[in-house]
């Protein structure tokens, strides 16, 4: 059957339901949110239609700048940590036996789908005084007394790396599976050690993939909202936490919406950049 352009109205039939649903329940809510970001906030959690930039003006405060700066810093740190571990790991995984790959993929998918609430709970247990890892250190004689490791920046960072790592591997996996094995074989034949072949052949060949993955993981990490709350102190709150806090607990929808619009713009710019990096790869 050749693909042909739709001619009669009936040919468009299959499109009606999906298009309708996506427009009504995604495009319209999105537009509503943008509209609300310009609304005027009233006392008591209500807001009235208006067209003011007050909500955006609040971005200029030092507090907001601090939160934004910390969010970006945290997401970059998580992205770098994940990609740094993820590339050698995924490379070795893609060279493993098929059955080994499947076991790892199922495990990674299971961890990836685990609710952020549960990841937060699991790590706060591991970092707690009574059930935590420090008990193991005491038992091994490395520490004299068990202690709690949360709330701290290290705890937030570790848990977010944990959350984003399976995602990183799954983003890298297709590119590494398709990587031509003769590339490394040639390097090995010419006398390079496996580690040297990895750094001088595999990594440069994947430069654009690595950049695109860094950006994808960065956006993924920007979306983390529970781990900073559960494992960090208030100064470790990210933009996502602040948006939720303003929307639900401070009942300041217009300000929350303005921050969300800002977050969309940042994300879209980065998605565009990663698509551009991906295109460069194809062009080569």
């Amino acid at each position: 059957m050749r693909r042909e352009p739709p001619q009669r109205l009936a040919d468009y039939g299959p499109l009606f339901f999906p298009a309708g649903m996506l427009i009504v329940f995604f495009v319209v809510p999105f537009a509503t949110m943008i509209a609300v970001s310009f609304f005027q906030r009233q006392q008591g959690g209500f807001y009235t239609p208006a067209f003011v930039f007050d909500n955006y003006a609040r971005f200029l405060t030092a507090f907001f700048g601090g939160v934004l700066g910390f969010s970006l810093f945290l997401a970059i740190a998580v992205a770098i940590a994940c990609v740094a571990i993820g590339i050698p790991f995924t490379y070795l995984l893609s060279r493993s036996k098929r059955s080994v790959q499947i076991v790892w993929l199922v495990a990674l998918l299971s961890v990836l789908s685990l609710s952020e609430v549960m990841i937060g709970f699991a790590w706060s247990t591991l970092f707690s005084r009574t059930a935590g890892i420090t008990n193991l250190f005491v038992w091994m004689g490395l520490m004299t007394q068990a202690q709690a490791l949360t709330p701290s920046f290290g705890a937030v960072m570790t848990a977010m790396t944990y959350q984003a790592f399976p995602y990183t591997v799954l983003v890298l996996y297709p590119a590494l599976v398709r990587l031509d094995p003769t590339l490394t074989e040639a390097a090995r034949t010419l006398g390079a050690s496996p580690v040297k072949a990895f750094f001088t052949v595999v990594v440069p060949a994947l430069r654009n993939t690595i950049l695109a993955t860094l950006i994808m993981v960065f956006i993924f990490a920007l979306g983390s909202y529970l781990l900073p709350q559960l494992l960090g102190r208030p100064q470790h709150w990210t933009l996502s936490v602040l948006i939720t806090d303003q929307a639900i607990y401070q009942s300041n929808m217009p300000f929350a919406a303005a921050m969300a619009v800002f977050l969309v713009l940042v994300s879209l710019a980065l998605v565009g950049l990663s698509l551009y990096a991906g295109r460069q790869k194809e062009a080569k």
Binding site: M1, F26, S113, S115, E116, I119, A122, P174, A247, A260
Partner: protein
């Protein structure tokens, strides 16, 4: 080199498993304390998920939400993927983009958009709004698996059916549907598992009227930790592992994931 690889795999595996091992240990504590290694052995905390009305209701709410919203996601994705495969209509790709967008952007954005929408339309807090919200949020997953499924169909098969006089409807039912069934099932499975675990969209749409299990755990965390939360975590992990294991058993998981991220 092989030894080095083993050590590296082991280290990554340990990092991924460690919090889960501790949670699994905590979940079998005899008394209501979080200690590791566990004191005594008891499966009563697992039992509590099913016997305690609050936990049971949360479990049922989560399962119902996941089952129905994954179905909705599938119902949106299937005709769209079919249309994009069957027709030449480049402008319709905008809907593909719309289907992938909620999953690519930070989830808090979709959640807030839906919150303002349901609040504006006056349906805020109704249970069915969560079904639609999750259905839209997770439409990406069946959309991606189905696009992959359609692209794998040999068009000459469909052409043969058309030559013999089958109309679109018959072709879809007798040729296309059997071929894409594995992709249909895996798309549903992905959406189901992720909906089961999703927190922020559910919380922002129905958080004050309905408790799914992730919401219930988060609310309970404020009053202290109980082994029941650990039991739920282990249970959910097992459910996900079994479902993804089945997808791998009956489908081609490396291929599915190999092409999935490529479409992003």
């Amino acid at each position: 080199m092989i030894a080095l690889r083993r050590i590296f795999f082991f280290a990554v595996g340990l990092f991924l498993a460690l919090p889960l091992i501790v949670v699994a240990g905590v979940s079998v504590n005899q008394r209501q304390t979080l200690t590791f290694p566990p004191q005594g052995f008891s499966l009563s905390w697992y039992g509590q998920i099913f016997t305690d009305p609050e936990w049971r209701n949360a479990l049922l709410a989560s399962l119902t939400l996941a089952a129905t919203s994954a179905l909705l996601a599938l119902l949106i994705a299937l005709p769209l993927a079919w249309f994009l495969w069957r027709r030449v209509a480049p402008w319709a790709n905008i809907f593909q983009l719309l289907g992938v967008a909620p999953f690519t952007l930070p989830p808090v954005i979709t959640a807030l958009g839906l919150l303002t929408f349901w609040a504006t339309t006056g349906f805020y807090g109704q249970a069915w709004t969560a079904v639609i919200s999750h259905g839209i949020f997770f439409v990406t997953l069946p959309l991606v698996t189905l696009s992959l499924g359609f692209s794998a169909i040999d068009r000459s098969l469909v052409e043969a059916a058309a030559t013999m006089g089958a109309d679109d409807r018959t072709i879809f039912r007798t040729v296309v549907l059997p071929l894409i069934l594995p992709y249909l099932v895996s798309g549903y499975a992905f959406a189901f598992v992720l909906s089961l675990n999703e927190y922020i969209v559910a919380y922002m749409t129905v958080g004050f009227t309905m408790e799914t299990l992730p919401i219930k755990i988060f609310n309970a965390l404020r009053y202290g930790y109980t082994p029941t939360m650990a039991a739920v975590t282990v249970l959910f992990l097992l459910v996900a592992a079994v479902i993804f294991g089945l997808v791998a058993r009956f489908g081609d998981l490396p291929k599915l994931l190999g092409a999935m991220a490529e479409d992003k």
